[in-house]
Symmetry: C2
Subunit: 149 residues, 2 copies
Amino acid sequence: MLKLSKLTDYATVILSHMAKDYLGMYASQEVSERTGIAQPTVSKILKILVKAKILTSVRGAKGGYLLASAPENITVAMVINALEGPIALTECSLSHKNCDHVRDCDIQGNWGVINQKILTMLESVTLADMLEPIKPANEIRISASSFFR
Amino acid sequence: MLKLSKLTDYATVILSHMAKDYLGMYASQEVSERTGIAQPTVSKILKILVKAKILTSVRGAKGGYLLASAPENITVAMVINALEGPIALTECSLSHKNCDHVRDCDIQGNWGVINQKILTMLESVTLADMLEPIKPANEIRISASSFFR
DNA sequence: ATTAAATAGTACTAAACTAGTCCACAATAA
DNA sequence: TTATTGTGGACTAGTTTAGTACTATTTAAT
């Protein structure tokens, strides 16, 4: 299905909530209430985002989380990378070492090219972009995608 | 990790093998030997590809599998779709119905746009492209991807 | 100092998914 | 008729994911 994990999906929801007032501080409790995502899950995601330096945290009472940089500087690729690790469609895109048993594989390089294109695309979309209402033109292109039922 | 399943990876290896002589017929046994992928696994993948109309099959002795169309007309998107189902990064890209518990989700539409871009890209790469040696220019761009360690 | 509020880190469980295998059945060439 | 090859479905072991729980640490407020 080539899909993102639920946690990554949640992370973008959480971050776009926080990006609305990106200088403000948010407690995990509040984020949970505002997004409808269970508190322990929100907490887990926030911790991961701190470790990835996408958020910074303040401990103690009145503590919370805030964006480590402006929404324009946080890319979708960064978020995916934080929650799922490196973006690599195939093992080969990451390292060319482990192809023991597949003998006539002429195609790893090309997977690498495809992978790189996706990466570039995901790096070009920022949190700020995610907040903007979608363009009508794009909306039309979406519904035109009938190939994948 | 945003990765394809192993089976999808195998499928592209198998198909690119078959694409070298795309009018020829290939028994699963032979494909297994030539690719180094275990026979039952090859067999499973070939069956799936037939169901997706990417291959056609001939039963009985001297039977086998052949490409249902020229390598130029078989896209990477078709192969992924066959093995993993619809390409949809988030649930929302597929259907906007199930977002019950996430209240302030302003971003599904934008996921749809991203998804569509990836889809368009994957639809533009054919089996024929996968067989061609990669361009040196692309090779350089791959190794330049240091962001995702 | 004490308490309450908040994050940090880690471990755990249940459910879902994936890879891989196997077997009984159907079709066809020789 | 027999050997060869695909068809369809079921099954298992292993891995991954989502979600939860618990303890420790930090800090503001009193």
